[in-house]
Amino acid sequence: MKHFTKLAIAAVVAGITAGSAIAQELYAPNLAYRTGPFAATGIPLMNGQADYLAMLNARDGGVGGVPVNAEECETGYSTEKGVECYEKTKDRSIVTQPWSTGITLQVLPKTNIDMIPILAPGYGFSPMMDGKTFQWAFNAPAGYWDAADMIIQFIEGQGDLNGKKVAFLHLDHPFGKEPLPVLEAAAEAKGFELVPIPVGLKEMQNQSAQWLQIRRERPDYVVMWGWGAMNAGAITEAVKTKFPMENMIGVWWSGHDADLAIVGDKGKGYKSISWSFPNADAPVMADIQKHVIDAGKSQTNDAEMSGVFYGRGIIISAILAEGIASAQAHFGTGEINAEQLRWGLENINMTEERINELGLNGMVAPFSTSCGNHTGHSGGWMLEWDGAKFVKVSDHLMPNVDSYAELANAKAAEYAEANAPWPVNEDCGG
């Protein structure tokens, strides 16, 4: 009992001190998923994000001298929990990082009312690149349509596509269907046959039916839009059916080191398009090692730190920090609010020099956002599994944004109409 009283007093005291110690800070919560069916992919991403911000807090005292409070709210990738987290954090937060398509779908229509920017780097709804319509949503540095276009470009670089057959193995879910319009248009323009093969959420781990179909169809390439358990399932099936790995290309969420490590050498040649690259020699990694890992403030480990997803987490936080920094410079205040951060995220200019200055050498390609362009279209690299890790096998690829800009505008207008009254940023030229 005595022990309990002590504990209770300690808790109360901690509560009071925590309450009174509201110093300057930027509250940027993250709707993390370290539990649930997608935890294996979530943990390295979350660790990368948390560690980068923790490093900034330790090294520079935050961004522009104001510490960033990157509190995590656990969603387990469940939409219901995600909405709970959103409601819990929205009063104070300057940004929403929803992390799942389901949560993004829920939160996106509310942004015009709650006025909190959504930062969804490399995921979410592709037409979000139209910043005029989606004033509060950002999917910098690249969207799914960019990925589809770059993959087609890469395949084309290996020979004419005319008369070829491309199987599109995708999760039967809003995320998996996202690139279909662009791939269909490309198939028509370039004369290849596109065979969409959906994988139901229940079939993720057992894709024998899908791979039987792939064997029957004999496609020249398999393009994969997978997530979570689907990736490992597809890669092991591909190895089992002896599909030539070098002709299998995944989106950036299908390039998780742990999925490939299961098959090891047999996965050699598997490719994944990516807008981020884990450069172990980048100065930022040394800083994280010094300020965060050695200080015991991280949950990560060595194997994870060299992986693609950890590096991607770092870039995501770097984009957020850059948005904060540009807003701080413009508004001349350290403690920016959500509306100012929106301006900041709209005016990111990640030049080669800036990337090196931040110590992110070679981890992301240069890009810049504007009020009409919320994606930035950094392009990316084709990564290839060499049996132990992912390596770059292409030059920097740039998406052909013009080819689907019209489609994006049409889809954005459709969305705005379905959600009328939907305010559009008329001051915006692009």
Binding site: A14, G19, A32, R34, V83, K88, T101, L105, Q106, N419
Partner: protein
């Protein structure tokens, strides 16, 4: 003491058959209603509305629909989420085809569609019972979710395959969609839930409820005393699916705002079945108690460490939460296998005869 019934005399049959023959019950309900209609809306924050009040009400209504079928008529069903989906998609189609329609009318009408589907899938119940019937309703679950995915007309050919609630106005106030305020949505939900609860209480007390209970307790005996089993079972399926369908429409239109087909998959069915079982099969109030335990408690538990100032990882809280809620479910079921409603019934009984034990 508090529940003393001495001095409450019934002098007519009507009085004896009243919904609440004991004054204290009526008083207690009155207090709860005042809280629900006046005090909560005045004091609740946006967070409380969106994560506690609205979801608890909607889940209670769904569980009540299932309870009519499983608790009162004894037909085990595992397809609840799919019937919710039918209600939600029906409401979405009605609203997008006829945008002038009153949202509340649309929500109440959408139950008709799920009732139809429910009756169709209830036909096997005339030949099979128990676990075998559960498998037949499981077929409904798989088939309907598959249909929501593949039938593009249902979601107006949206590229994402999900349905999104448009902004809907009623008398100049937004009641659904992102523009709607939580208070308005809460009142709409509360109104429909109160209305359907009243209907359910009266249905289960009347002829229909008695035929259902007779069917549940022993269908051969029920048939021998002249109850038409087909009528009894199919009305149970119809009424149950109607309520479940309405709650599905509320679920998407008044709370979630958007829905993907796999939202209506089997985990949701199980969740509702758990609410009904833990709350108490064959009871109306149990659904509310069950929903508070299963839907509300985790949210409150998630808030605790922060409120107490205990620095703890969000992921750890989630793990702890799952363990605590799980052990509470086991605890309550061991203490009272017939659910929370029975627990309350026993407490009330004891209070009435207090201070004399049995």
């Amino acid at each position: 003491m508090l529940y003393r019934t001495a001095g409450q005399f019934k002098t007519s049959y009507a009085k004896d058959q009243a919904l609440f023959p004991i004054k204290q019950d009526a008083f207690l309900l009155g207090v709860i209603l005042v809280f629900a209609w006046v005090i909560f809306p005045l004091t609740a924050s946006e967070f409380t509305f969106q994560t506690l009040l609205i979801p608890i009400l909607i889940y209670s209504l769904t569980a009540m629909g299932l309870n009519i079928l499983t608790g009162y008529a004894g037909q085990l069903s595992l397809g609840t989420a799919a019937f919710m989906g039918v209600g939600a998609y029906a409401c979405y189609k009605m609203i997008t085809i006829m945008p002038w329609m009153n949202p509340i009318v649309a929500i109440l009408l959408s139950g008709v569609f799920s009732a139809g589907v429910g009756v169709a899938f209830g036909i096997p119940s005339l030949r099979i019972k128990g676990f075998y019937l559960a498998i037949a309703t499981l077929a409904a679950q798989f088939f309907l979710v598959w249909l929501f995915e593949k039938w593009a007309w249902l979601y107006n050919y949206n590229a994402s395959g999900a349905i999104q609630v448009p902004n809907l106005e009623m008398f100049g106030v937004y009641v659904a969609g992102p523009q709607a305020s939580s208070v308005v949505q809460y009142y709409v939900v509360l109104f429909i839930v109160c209305l359907l609860t009243m209907v359910c209480i009266n249905l289960t007390r009347g002829t229909l409820g008695r035929t259902w209970k007779a069917t549940r307790d022993m269908d051969i005996a029920a048939e021998l005393i002249g109850i038409n089993l087909m009528k009894s079972k199919l009305t149970a399926f119809a009424v149950s699916s109607y309520i479940v369908g309405v709650s599905g429409a509320l679920f998407v239109f008044m709370w979630r705002g958007a829905a993907e087909p796999n939202l209506f998959d089997i985990p949701l069915s199980f969740r509702i079945l758990f609410i009904a079982i833990i709350g108490g099969l064959g009871s109306i109030m149990g659904n509310y108690l069950g929903a508070i335990l299963i839907v509300g408690l985790p949210v409150v538990l998630n808030l605790l460490p922060n409120a107490l100032g205990i620095p703890i990882d969000s992921a750890t809280v989630e793990h702890l939460n799952i363990m605590i809620v799980g052990s509470l479910i086991v605890f309550f079921l061991i203490v009272e296998p017939h659910g929370l409603a029975q627990l309350w019934r026993l407490i009330r009984e004891k209070l009435i005869i207090w201070p004399f034990p049995h």
